[in-house]
């Protein structure tokens, strides 16, 4: 700046930085002219230059810069003329140095000395003093003629000034009137996160249940559910919004690129998102560039996984021994079992044969920085994940770029984000584990190791295979079946904001996403399937799918503060979202060689010979969502808060009679701590009461359900030729509409003792017009089911969160967070005068012979989701057969004598209570954090045990306990039955993650932290299966299936390096 006054220069510095100046205008001459270049220099150098050749001294205290005249010994003494003095202390009475004391409305002021004392002169008697200090609440005190004013500063409660995303905007936490949980990157789970970014929140947010039900499968995702099950057959998971864009691809966001995750829990917060918001909304904000020199961060970790709890099956030798003992037994039952067992002379640990010690690695590199006008953030990440089961795995490479342009007058902001990922994955075939657990351990893996007395049914093949019902060699299942999926996903958005007038901003957020997946599948010619199941002689298929989403959301906001007390913010907007899904697939069979796998479909001969009905197929569908929305936030004196929103939204999926709907919400807040009568309650820093009500929708069903259409189907022999036909595809329902959920929420947020934050929320959700596919009579309907809106469901609950920093010393600190939630679910109704279900049976027990048609879950009106319905175990009979109680408990009967009427609700698979307890300790350069997670008041149906913990399961392999357990080993029944004997309490408390880190002081980098971490280290539970963390979404929760990918323990080593 050339020839500017010092005052102008100081103004410029204040505008561009966080520093502000304090000086006595009577003493310091700021009208002198200077010439300086202040660009890209640090503050010290700038100031040196500004004041060079003047008599002005400066002193930097935190963000304040105090100016004084050099011939005075100190700034403070220069102001000592007449008389207001006092002492400033903190809430415990200790003197507080460095507190800024100014006369309100001027820049005249001082700071307290190191004893907390201050002194001001020349003060008008009607003046008001402002006391401010970082981390303390600013206090205003009127002088009223006093000459001594001593005050105790109150620490500002942590968090109320935090900014929280609320959907189409942000808001200070202290002003929020709905139930929103916000987790910043500092509070994320510290260990390895590899299935979904939402694992970062595991056990952190009350009401958000997260379950790794897919165990160690690198291609599974975590399940998450907010405030219980709100829908029967519509979407059950929250809406994901990434950087303001609805429906982003969660799995392609690297956890390292996430800044904060905000969870809109209640209806009043979520209603602004209309028909997609019933299950809550999760807003993910990614990292953006910040002003400053480039910052380079590199983090990498490697982890290894092992069985959480490897089942103990009979070894080959034990199996042989068992055969001998049983065959020689006096017990006819055992004799027969012994007789059925075959000795193939080998010794194979099938679980070892299909698994490995998986080793995976993850790398993230990011660069960020920028100037006031252009900020950038770019990252590159790579992950190579191996699954515990051989061949399963995922490799993913991705990059993210974010640019933010801000015009100099800050009226215009343009932000662009793009995210690309390329993924190759090898999915898990659930039959592998099933077969490994079942297969006779005396069978060798390969034909070459086979004893000459054994005749395999494929003597020329590599793997020992036998014909028979569903018994492929599990290692063959891994090696002879190729499953390769490749996905590339792009998501990008551009967000433009322009301040038209002061407080009036127009903006538009446009997004485009595309995900392409190409899959390849091949079954070898001598695989079990080819030999004994479909006789295809090698089968190959390929498919290519593309899903595309576009959205554009223009908004206009106006915000202003009127008369210092009325704060108003108004938002209006329009949203257009479109989804297109396209698919193409082809298959062929009967190949001459396995060499081509799926790469040359034309080489097969099944298409030519005409045995394939549909060798090629393609499909395309689309749907649209259009809405208009608005919101008003108003606060009076920052004490009485009000927020109201309305979304008018229509979806193409719904019937012509019901395209459009309205979703409204209102919430109020009362900051009680601002009231005068609360001023004396010194330990309360902030206290706010919230009450909200909101209506949201669920449109999670497929397209075209309301429309009449014809599909190709069936053939007929017509005049000596086969011709294909067209048939209506479904029963159209032109009345089809969204599910509607009304939710009220009462909450209170309290901050106290400077470091304790407490939140309690009570909610009541009522979903009506539940979407369900109803059975209808044929005729007059064409199909026996129609999608309709009928039932009603209720969820009520309470959420409790407390976070605190019990210790904060310079060397040692401790932060904790404890949260708990309780939810009560009830399916109120599933019927009306037209559609009628008193109950439905679900959860068919597949996987074992003779179990088809055995349903074990009952969905019933007036009852919660997840009721397990079975006979009650009544002990074993004298001849060691299963017995169950008849309906009125008068008689013990064998299950084959028992009927449906004798079954009862014997448990429920939905956890009612979730608990999370997280702790972080730091000591010098060490840090330690751990998270406990627990789910309580639920039962697991152990279908694994139903089928297998039974001597009668021989000659398949069994668990060792079947012959050692004093009770089970005595059972002499060929089969097992679904009784409450196998319904076990699932309650658990687990050490979800534990991380120990050390920051190594180095010269070449700003930070170098190394850490070791463990995940799923131990579980306290009575459950006799593996890990009780089971599936919690859906209508058959906590069904422990014998096909599931094994649960794992994970150990991680990693480091983070910041330059």
């Amino acid at each position: 700046m050339e020839n500017a006054t010092i005052k102008q220069v100081l103004g410029q510095i204040e505008n561009q930085t966080d520093y502000f100046f304090m000086y006595n205008g009577k003493l310091v001459n700021v009208d002198q002219n200077v010439s300086v270049d202040i660009k890209n220099k640090n503050i010290d150098n700038v100031l040196k230059e500004v004041f060079k050749g003047t008599d002005i001294n400066y002193e930097i205290k935190d963000r304040q810069i105090l100016l004084s005249i050099s011939n005075n010994t100190s700034f403070i003494s220069a102001l000592q003329q007449k008389k207001i003095t006092g002492k400033v202390t903190d809430s415990s009475g200790a003197p507080l140095p460095g507190v800024t004391v100014v006369i309100k409305g001027t820049t005249i002021g001082t700071i307290t000395d190191n004893k907390g004392n201050y002194s001001l002169t020349d003060i008008p008697s009607n003046a008001t003093l402002l006391f401010s200090f970082m981390g303390m609440k600013t206090q205003e005190i009127a002088i009223n003629g006093k000459s001594t004013i001593n005050i105790a500063m109150q620490e500002e409660s942590i968090g109320i000034d935090e900014v929280v995303a609320i959907g189409y905007g942000t808001m200070k936490k202290g002003k929020i009137t709905s139930s929103i949980a916000s987790v910043k990157k500092e509070d994320f789970v510290q260990g390895a996160v590899y299935q979904s970014p939402l694992e970062l929140l595991s056990g952190k947010v009350a009401g958000l249940a997260i379950s790794r039900s897919g165990g160690g499968d690198p291609n599974s995702s975590v399940e998450f559910q907010l405030r219980g099950v709100s829908s029967v057959d519509g979407d059950k998971t929250p809406l994901i919004i990434i950087d303001g864009v609805p429906g982003g691809y969660l799995s392609s966001i690297s956890p390292d690129d996430i800044e904060t995750i905000d969870i809109l829990r209640d209806g009043s917060a979520a209603a602004i998102y209309g028909t997609k918001a019933t299950n809550g909304v999760i807003l993910i904000t990614t990292k953006k560039g910040t002003v400053g020199k480039p910052q380079v961060k590199y983090s990498a970790y490697a982890y290894t996984e092992g069985w959480y709890n490897k089942p103990e099956l009979l070894t080959g030798d034990e199996y042989r021994n068992c055969k001998e003992v049983f065959s020689a037994s006096d017990d006819a039952f055992l004799q027969k079992e012994g007789r059925s067992m075959m000795d193939y002379k080998g010794n194979t640990d099938w679980l070892d044969a299909i698994s490995r010690n998986a080793l995976s690695q993850v790398h993230d590199l990011s660069i960020s920085g920028g100037t006031e006008t252009l900020k950038y953030y770019g990252s590159f990440n790579y992950r190579d994940q191996e699954g515990l089961i051989k061949e399963t795995g995922k490799k993913m490479m991705g990059g993210r770029l974010s640019l933010t342009y801000t015009s100099l007058d800050k009226k215009l902001m343009i932000q662009m984000n793009s995210n690309n990922t390329f993924t190759t994955s090898h999915p898990y075939n659930s039959n592998i584990l099933f077969q490994a657990m079942t297969r006779n351990p005396t069978m060798p893996v390969y034909n070459k190791d086979t004893d000459p007395s054994v005749t395999p049914d494929n003597p020329d093949g590599e793997f020992l295979e036998f014909n028979g019902y569903l018994c492929p060699n599990p290692v063959g299942l891994i090696e002879q079946y190729k499953r390769d999926n490749k996905n590339s996903a792009f998501q990008g958005n551009i967000n433009i904001k322009y301040e038209l007038l002061k407080g009036l901003i127009i903006a538009a957020n446009g997004a485009f996403m595309r995900s392409n997946t190409i899959t390849g599948y091949y079954e070898d010619r001598d695989s079990w399937n080819s030999l004994f199941s479909n006789a295809n002689g090698g089968s190959a298929s390929r498919s290519s799918t593309q899903s595309e989403r576009r959205s554009i959301e223009p908004t206009i906001t106006y915000s202003n503060l009127f008369n210092d007390i009325h704060r108003l913010e108004v938002l209006g907007g329009y949203s257009y979202q479109e989804e297109i899904y396209e698919n193409f697939s082809a298959e062929n069979h009967t190949f001459i060689s396995d060499a081509l796998t799926y790469n040359s479909l034309g080489s097969g001969s099944a298409i030519e010979s005409g045995v394939l009905a549909n060798p090629v197929s393609s499909y395309k569908s689309s749907n649209k969502l259009i809405s208009f929305f608005g919101r008003v936030n108003y606060s009076l004196k920052d004490r009485y808060l009000l927020s109201a929103s309305l979304r008018h939204e229509g979806s193409s999926k719904f019937g012509d009679n019901n395209k459009w709907g309205n979703f409204s919400a209102a919430s109020v807040g009362w900051v009680i701590s601002e009231e005068n009568f609360m001023k004396d309650v010194y330990f309360i820093d902030n206290m706010k009461l919230r009450l909200g009500y909101g209506v949201t929708g669920n449109q999670g069903v497929s397209s075209y359900l309301s429309k009449e259409k014809l599909n190709k189907s069936g053939v007929m022999y017509y005049n000596g030729e086969w011709i294909s036909g067209y048939v209506p595809a479904s029963n159209p329902n032109p009345d089809l509409r969204w599910e509607k959920k009304a939710e009220s929420n009462l909450g209170i947020d309290i901050s106290m003792f400077n470091n304790i934050n407490l939140s309690i929320d009570l909610y009541n959700r009522k979903t009506t017009d539940l979407l369900y596919e109803y059975s209808v009579p044929v005729p007059p309907n064409i199909y026996n089911s129609t999608w309709a809106n009928v039932g009603e469901m209720s969820n009520k609950g309470i959420e409790f969160t407390i976070s605190a920093t019990p210790l904060k010393k310079s060397k040692f600190s401790w932060k904790l967070n404890f949260n708990a939630s309780y939810n009560k679910n009830k399916l109120v109704s599933l019927s009306d005068e037209k559609y009628n279900y008193n109950y439905l049976m679900l959860g068919e027990l597949g996987g074992y012979l003779g179990m088809t048609g055995e349903y074990s879950y009952k969905l019933e009106e007036g009852e919660p989701i997840g009721n397990i319905f079975a006979w009650e175990f009544a002990g074993f009979s004298d001849d060691q057969k299963w017995q169950v109680w008849n309906a009125d408990h008068s008689e013990k009967i064998h299950p084959t004598e028992a009927t449906f009427k004798d079954k009862k609700v014997v448990g429920n698979g939905l956890p009612k209570t979730w608990v999370g307890f997280n702790n972080t300790f730091t000591y010098n350069n060490f840090d330690l954090s751990f998270g406990l997670k627990g789910a309580f008041f639920f039962d697991i149906l152990n279908t694994y045990a139903i089928g297998r913990r039974n001597v009668g399961y021989l000659p398949n392999n069994i668990e060792k306990m079947v012959i050692t357990d004093p009770e089970i080993s005595k059972v002499r029944d060929t089969r097992n039955y679904v009784t409450d004997y196998h319904v076990e309490s699932g309650d658990y408390l687990k050490l979800d993650n534990l991380t120990i880190g050390y920051s190594i002081p180095v010269k070449f980098a700003r930070q170098l932290r190394v850490y070791v971490s463990g995940k799923n280290l131990f579980v306290l539970t009575d459950y006799s299966g593996d890990d009780p963390e089971e599936s919690i979404t859906g209508l058959v929760p906590s069904y422990d299936s014998c096909w599931d990918y094994p649960k794992v323990k994970t150990f991680t080593f990693g480091f983070k390096l910041n330059f």
């Binding site: 048939v727 109803y774 059975s775 009579p777 060929t974």
Partner: protein, 541 residues
């Protein structure tokens, strides 16, 4: 520069939004992969394609434990036993069929109901659809409409046979809010259904073709439709209380006298892979192994369900079976050992077709030769005192159904047409009607009719001829079983002979003697009672 940028951004936002506002509130659905009805039913090809579902759904008759299966497994000829390794228990649903203890929850009930009503619905829909098309050839329209009415009558015949009092729906364009209702009085309702079928058949038979050749194979020509009428009249006494023996004989004679049908010299010619040219088969569900949309489920019901897991080698086909249904011991024992028709059952030691090697068990009798026994006993350990019966059958127990030739054309399917109505049945039914009119005593004419069939079953026919003295109603019922086993009518026969409800077969396994007459009809499935609250459940359930 700054101004320019600001202006530019404003323009950008406008450009961004403009295209959207064009279609601002347009929520019409774009359908890409299906045809919307407005664009269909225009050309003759499309009209024929529209006709397909009416027939293609008929093949569901034998899938999914439908009517023919339940006719057998509830009767004295066959059963799906629960195996000693637990297979085929499946909630006890098959044991219930054997015991006659089924409930409305048994999924077989719904299979029978929904498959059959589906035919009614398709027929109604297409009759309506064709009535709406004005550019259709009038002859084709009449022919199609009458065929569709016959399909509907065939469906209602099956419903009358199984559930009795079912709701009659004879149109597609029902008024808003219409729900099908059955008569609240079972007997009256059953009579209404009977009369509805009779009228539909009599009204439409004149419009059907008399041609019997490849071009009408698998479709209802005049004689196939008359066969429904014969069977309807044969059971008239059971369903309406009024015997109609003369009407049955009249229509049986029309089929016999048409000269289009004759008995094949070889009983098994009707069931071989190439059974399209059988002169004996009147109505078949055509199959072709290379049309795989027909295939697997069909193969499964004629072969794979019945045979052992390791049976692929026995027949030289690529796939093994699932070890399900088997014959009841007493039924196999009822055959004369010389009866050729006994060869339709696999009994005894099973060998590999090409190598002659023994096939072995692989479940509870792993390593033991697979030897299908007629009785359910432990043949490998005579000292075993375990009770083997329908709840606990050794993996090898029971004769297996092999009447249809088992050979896979190409890949995994069979091409045999499934026989619904056959000339032999016409002869047996006529003989029965004659005897019924004669006070249940044999007549010369009746014995001659039956002997045509009976002598075919023996190498030396002269030794095995019935006379008016040896031929009784009892013998007729038994002969029907031996001739027509697993052809989807055994339960119906037993009910007509009043031998079903308290059926006495395999009494030592399960005693049905104290059961009521309601066993002569099935309960309306619970799923349907749920789907339609206007239905009245059948008496006794």
């Amino acid at each position: 520069m700054k101004r320019l940028l600001n202006k530019l951004s404003f323009i950008l936002i406008v450009i961004f939004i403009l295209p959207v506002f064009n279609s601002c509130t347009d929520l019409d659905e774009d359908v890409y992969s299906s045809i919307v009805p407005e664009n269909f039913y225009k050309t003759e090809d499309e009209l024929i394609a529209a006709m397909v579902p009416a027939y293609s759904d008929l093949c569901w008759m034998i899938r999914n434990r439908g009517v023919p299966d339940c006719e057998a497994y509830t009767s004295d000829i066959m059963i799906i036993p629960t195996r000693d390794y637990g297979g085929w228990y499946d909630g006890g649903r098959y044991q219930q069929l054997f015991e006659h203890t089924w409930t409305s929850e048994n999924s077989c009930m719904d299979n029978m109901w929904s498959r059959t009503f589906n035919w009614v619905d398709k027929a109604n829909m297409l009759i309506y659809q064709f009535s709406q098309v004005d550019n259709m050839d009038p002859d084709l329209k009449t022919k199609f409409t009458s065929e569709l009415s016959i399909i509907r009558a065939f469906a209602y015949y099956n419903l009358l046979n199984t559930f009795g009092n079912v709701p009659i729906v004879d149109r597609f364009d029902v008024p808003e809010g219409f729900t099908p209702k059955n008569n609240t009085d079972f007997e009256a309702g059953r009579k209404e259904v009977f009369e509805f079928i009779e009228k539909d058949l009599l009204d439409n038979i004149p419009n059907l073709t008399e041609t019997v050749d490849e071009s009408t194979s698998g479709r209802f020509n005049k004689y196939a439709a008359m066969m429904i009428l014969v069977k309807l009249y044969m059971n008239a006494e059971v369903w309406t209380g009024i015997p109609r023996w003369d009407d049955a004989i009249t229509y049986a004679d029309k089929i016999i006298n048409s000269g289009n049908y004759q008995l094949e010299a070889d009983y098994f010619a009707n069931f071989k892979v190439e059974n399209k040219d059988s002169k004996e088969n009147i109505f078949v569900l055509p199959f072709n192994a290379t049309i795989s949309s027909l295939g697997w489920a069909y193969t499964s019901y004629l072969y794979r369900m019945h045979h052992h897991f390791l049976s692929a080698g026995i027949f030289g086909v690529s796939l093994g079976g699932q070890n399900g249904p088997a014959a009841l011991p007493s039924f196999i024992h009822s055959f004369d050992s010389q009866d050729i028709r006994l060869k339709g059952w696999s009994i005894g030691l099973q060998l590999n077709k090409s190598t002659g090697d023994t096939i072995f068990c692989n479940k509870t009798y792993s390593g033991k030769p697979l030897n299908y026994t007629i009785d359910y006993v432990d043949i490998y350990d005579p000292t075993d005192e375990t009770v083997y019966d329908y709840k606990n059958a050794p993996e090898y127990a029971g004769a297996r159904f092999s009447k249809y030739e088992i050979a896979f054309a190409d890949g995994t399917n069979m091409s045999n047409d499934y026989v619904v109505y056959r000339y032999a049945d016409v002869l047996l039914l006529k003989a029965e009607a004659l005897m019924r009119k004669h006070g249940g005593m044999a007549t010369e004419e009746a014995v001659n009719l039956v002997n045509q069939i009976h002598k075919r079953a023996f190498e030396d026919p002269s030794l095995h001829l019935y006379t008016t003295n040896t031929f009784t109603m009892e013998e007729l019922l038994a002969e029907r079983a031996r001739e027509l086993y697993y052809e989807g009518m055994r339960r119906n026969d037993l009910i007509r002979f009043d031998k079903f409800a308290q059926g006495e077969w395999e009494k030592e396994w399960y005693d049905r003697s104290s059961q009521g007459d309601e066993k002569n009809w099935y309960p309306i499935p619970q799923t349907q009672m749920n789907a339609n609250i206007s239905l009245t459940q059948n008496p006794g359930y």
